[in-house]
């Protein structure tokens, strides 16, 4: 019976009574039983997902603002931050760096060059992403600059460092119905948002993906980086399944846009070589 604990009771009437008397447990169990599962019984996270929040602008509380360019009405919406306690525990030097980043974000943000945004920023860029799943590997394909994250869920360790990747290296395991992903081996070149929140190459993450219902995943990230923060800190948000009929990823290769791609930016002074 959907939403009801499976209890081996000889008499079906007893089963019905048990279900009726346990609504809270049944609801929780119902969520667990109602989620899609793979053939090997794991939660099946395949599908297309997207956040609905303002974290790409600012992972902390954000007031509405005019857009920082020629079209002020295309502004920044107000949003509540996704950081637990709304506090990011920077060291004093790192906090000064954040303030400098914010002041110069129009030139310093790596998103200005449309570079790979790093983790967790890629998750909450305002674009859909698609998960495909096998028993020992999951691929996350993002519409934003066709980023791919390879999640190895095969019990393997991170490769030995030092390695500095934009998207880190991801090793996942199942903790009950929660996918837990350890992410390590970052460079220091990505930000958390457009507000200048940053990290060092020593950052490591633990992501937790848990179904809330069939079409919603709770996504939680614990950030550890002793070079930048005085303690680990957490953010969390919901991932919503894109359910429009025939929904599919399209493309956003902004690195190829005029004004972004090298050679087309206003300050580029080109000196072509003479043909031989």
């Amino acid at each position: 019976m959907k939403g009801c604990m499976t209890v081996r009771i000889a008499n079906w009437i007893m089963t019905a009574v048990v279900c009726a008397l346990m609504p809270a447990a049944a609801a929780a169990q119902g969520a667990a039983q109602g989620i899609p599962r793979t053939a090997d019984g794991k939660p099946d996270m395949s599908g297309i997902w997207q956040v609905m929040n303002g974290a790409s602008w600012n992972i902390q509380d954000q007031n509405a603002e005019p857009a920082p360019h020629n079209w002020p009405w295309l502004g920044i919406p107000a949003s509540k931050g996704v950081v637990e306690g709304n506090e990011i525990p920077y060291t004093p030097e790192a906090r000064a760096k954040k303030d400098a980043n914010f002041k110069n974000r129009a030139t310093l943000d790596p998103e200005v060059s449309c570079f790979l945004p790093g983790v967790p920023r890629i998750t909450y860029m305002p674009f859909p992403f698609q998960i495909v799943q096998t028993p020992n590997y999951m691929a996350v394909m993002y519409e934003y600059v066709h980023t791919i994250r390879h999640l190895y869920v095969d019990g393997s360790d991170h490769p030995e460092g030092p390695i500095e990747w934009w998207m880190g290296d991801s090793r996942g395991r199942w903790d009950g119905d929660t996918l837990v992903v350890s992410v390590k081996h970052f460079n220091a070149d990505t930000w958390f948002d457009r507000a200048g929140n940053h990290h060092s190459e020593e950052m490591t993450l633990v992501e937790r993906y848990t179904f809330v219902d069939r079409d919603t995943i709770n996504y939680e990230v614990t950030v550890t980086d002793p070079k930048t923060f005085t303690r680990p800190w957490k953010m969390s948000m919901l991932l919503y399944r894109r359910k429009e009929p025939n929904f599919q990823l399209l493309e956003f290769p902004c690195y190829a846009f005029d004004g972004v791609s090298v050679g087309t930016r206003p300050k580029d002074v080109l000196k072509p070589h003479k043909p031989e």
Binding site: F115, A139, H146, T147, H150, D189, V262, D268, V269, P272
Partner: protein, 286 residues
């Protein structure tokens, strides 16, 4: 008299028949019959890691030895001999007369491009398009009942090929990798790639196309470790006829795919146009 003539005609016919290849020998690899392992939902199971065995280089898909010499001279790297174009038999792209001037222009430009748009888009870290991605590097294939996923480590390209009969995106949507819809015909996966933009090249020397491009791929699973890939390339605006290229794919040893960040740190345009080599984005690293 009559008998003699009859016998000589018969002899000629017999000789002619003996000269015809038997039907079995004339079958291409594509038509050999075998029963591949299947996925749970009944597709021939092509999942795994694949790479080209055809000796094709992305430098130039038309002329072999001529471009080999130039590629080695320009870049110090010996190119390969594979000539992937199988139709027309000349191995050359059948441009319409009005398109040959642009083809020659781009080919001449690639040695010393006068504008960034005349430098190979892939060298600038832009997307490969099809079929170039197939002779660029290896791939991993994952199959599901309503779609097949191709994951390419090179510059983190991916394709989701829908098998469920849904229509492609509306014709106003144009993409670097196009939009792919597939179906199985026996052991051959047929993929129609529509909705292409005009930004990709088939090789470094400037084999170009318009946004009328349509690519039809045929992936024929011929034995457990072999796929014969044939792409028919059609662009009635600039080609006098559709043309075909072939890539032999072999099964690779499974290996983790890792990050391949092509844009970050790319200096192709800097080198070609003498732009200063500053770090693109100031780094937080010490």
């Amino acid at each position: 008299m009559k008998t003699y003539r009859y016998v000589s005609v018969l002899a000629l016919l017999t000789a002619g028949l003996l000269m015809l290849p038997s039907y079995a020998a004339a079958q291409t690899a594509a038509q050999k019959r075998w029963d591949p392992p299947k996925t749970q939902d009944g597709q021939p199971d092509i999942q795994g890691f694949w790479g080209q065995r055809s000796d094709i280089t992305t430098y130039s898909i038309q002329a072999g030895a001529i471009d080999r010499e130039e590629h080695t001279r320009l870049g110090g790297q010996a190119t390969q001999f594979g000539r992937p174009i199988i139709d027309p038999p000349t191995g050359m792209i059948p441009y319409r007369p009005e398109a040959t001037e642009r083809a020659k222009f781009l080919n001449a430009q690639h040695r010393a491009p006068q504008k960034p748009e005349y430098l190979d888009p892939v060298s600038r870290c832009f997307m490969e398009g099809l079929p170039r991605l197939i002779y660029q590097g290896g791939m991993r294939i994952l199959q599901y009942p309503t779609y097949i996923v191709f994951l390419h480590e090179w510059s983190h390209h991916f394709r989701v090929v829908y098998l469920d009969g849904r229509p492609p995106a509306g014709s106003n949507i144009k993409m670097w990798m196009g939009d792919s819809r597939g179906r199985w015909e026996g052991n051959t996966l047929v993929i129609d790639v529509t909705n292409n933009n005009d930004r990709t090249w088939f090789d470094i020397v400037g084999s170009f196309h318009t946004d009328q491009l349509k690519v039809t791929e045929r992936w024929t699973f011929t034995d457990p470790d072999t796929i014969e890939y044939i792409a028919t390339i059609d662009d009635p605006k600039i080609y006098a006829q559709p043309w075909k290229l072939k890539v032999d794919l072999g099964r690779n040893k499974p290996e983790e795919q890792w990050e391949s960040a092509m844009c970050e740190g790319n200096k192709a345009v800097h080198v070609a146009f003498d732009l200063p080599f500053e770090h693109e984005v100031p780094t937080n690293a010490k």
